[in-house]
Amino acid sequence: MKIFLVLIIFICCVSIGLAIKQYYLRRQDFYRDLFSFCQNTKVYISYSQAKLSEIIEKNLLNCKKDFLYFLQLFHNYLVGNITKKDFISNSNLVFLDNEEREEVLNFFCQLGNMAKEEELEKIEVNMQNFERKSRKSQEENKKFSSLYVKLFLVLGLAIIIIFV
């Protein structure tokens, strides 16, 4: 019984470590895809003034899971399949804090509402911000993700050693 409990605790510790690693990885991937989306959007709008739904369809191919889901949800909102309220509530940006979430949602909700020059300016400003966040999240992922995995693994092992 004791060994079973200790094993559970060990598995929990390792799971927590992996979950934290996933958190940093998701943030890194999301911001990288978001920055790339901004770059592509800027190009499409500058050169061909492509419609937003076309731009999104072209971007869907190169995204990781979280951004892909988010972009598909946004596309559904754009074409009128879901309301703005549903888009915001189902966006599933749990790996971002409140301020970051609001920043991203505001950016997307205002996308496509301005004349060309203003739209490009707005995208450029946000793109710089997302680039900073992308770099920061990459550094955090590099620094903390494996650290936390090892930390919780060691914690789990320590608990085994102490109690067994």
Binding site: Q49, L52, G80, L111, N113, A115, E117
Partner: protein, 303 residues
């Protein structure tokens, strides 16, 4: 056509009207919604069309913004140039005239803001509407033709049908269609959604000046077709095209042939007898009513 433009709630009411007969819908901020069918105006109510203004629905800010957003396909930047010109052309050739406030940068109009009225005009493709006038447009070869009409009298519909007829009857003319406002062929993603026949090259969203100069060189047309010529630059372009040996089919806003004499810059066109045929249209018996056909000397030859 209307599903992409109007929100669901509004569509339910619109479906109570004879959608296939509507010429125009006017949405003015905080004013009653007006629908025009065959030059008669009606109010739109919850139960459909009515003459009773008390029952009329009001166009609020949300409706106007929603329609505008849908018309721009959520991409206002893609329509910046059109908005600056005071209109948007959507899928299906629907032209939406805009009323609002101008935003200037120094002396240049940048855009419109606070859009407060939408004039939604629905194109009606009427196959065969030019049949009665086609014989007058030829004398051994196609004659340079000018369609004269006030706004809303069917000149774009007639021009479209003439272009289609020129292909269908196998005249084998290469036609360059200069569709500056996307109204004649209404190209969507490069494909024309309205029938302009098999012998037509289309330049959409491009100024007449550019299209005439470069289109003649690159596409070698036999006939250049354009809509709503106005101003000296357009007249100059027409003159140049004619001097290059390319036939011209165009339209102009005017009441009748006499009005042409008072249009600034048009004298050179009349003096050089660029056009051999003038077709005058009106809405007297509905849009597309042919009032008269005139020759190069402005003499009436029929109607």
């Amino acid at each position: 056509m209307f599903e992409d433009l109007f929100p669901q709630i509004f569509l339910k009411t619109m479906n109570l009207t004879p959608l296939d007969k509507i010429n125009e819908i006017r949405l003015r901020l905080n004013k009653k919604i007006v629908v025009t069918i065959s030059n008669k105006s009606y109010y739109l109510s919850q139960d459909g069309l009515t003459g009773n203004s008390q029952k009329a629905m009001i166009a609020d800010k949300f409706l106007i913004e929603d329609v505008l957003k849908r018309a721009c396909e959520n991409s206002v930047y893609a329509f910046s140039d059109q908005i600056r010109s005071g209109f948007i052309t959507t899928k299906g050739g629907i032209r939406i005239g805009l009323g609002g406030e101008g935003v200037y940068e120094k002396t240049t109009l940048k855009t419109l803001k606070n859009i407060n009225s939408l004039s939604i005009r629905i194109p009606r493709e009427i196959i065969g509407c030019s049949e009665s006038i086609m014989p007058y447009l030829f004398k051994n070869a196609f004659l340079n033709t000018l369609i004269i009409s006030p706004p809303g009298a069917g000149k774009t519909t007639i021009i479209r049908d003439i272009v289609r007829s020129l292909s269908e009857k196998n005249y084998c003319y290469n036609i360059l269609l200069v569709d500056e406002r996307f109204e004649i062929a209404n190209c969507f993603n490069g494909v024309s959604t309205l029938d302009v026949g098999n012998f037509c090259d289309i330049l959409s969203g491009i100024s007449k000046e550019y299209a005439f100069e470069n289109g003649i060189r690159s596409l070698k047309p036999d006939i250049i077709v354009t809509d709503e010529i106005s101003g000296e630059k357009d007249y100059e372009a027409i003159l140049q095209a004619s001097n290059c040996g390319v036939n011209v089919l165009a339209s102009i806003h005017a009441r009748d042939v006499e009005d042409l004499k008072y249009k600034k810059g048009f004298e050179s066109i009349l003096k050089n007898k660029v056009f051999s045929r003038f077709i005058v249209l009106s809405s007297r018996e509905g849009p597309g009513t042919i009032e008269g056909i005139y020759d190069e000397g402005l003499r009436c030859i029929n109607y």
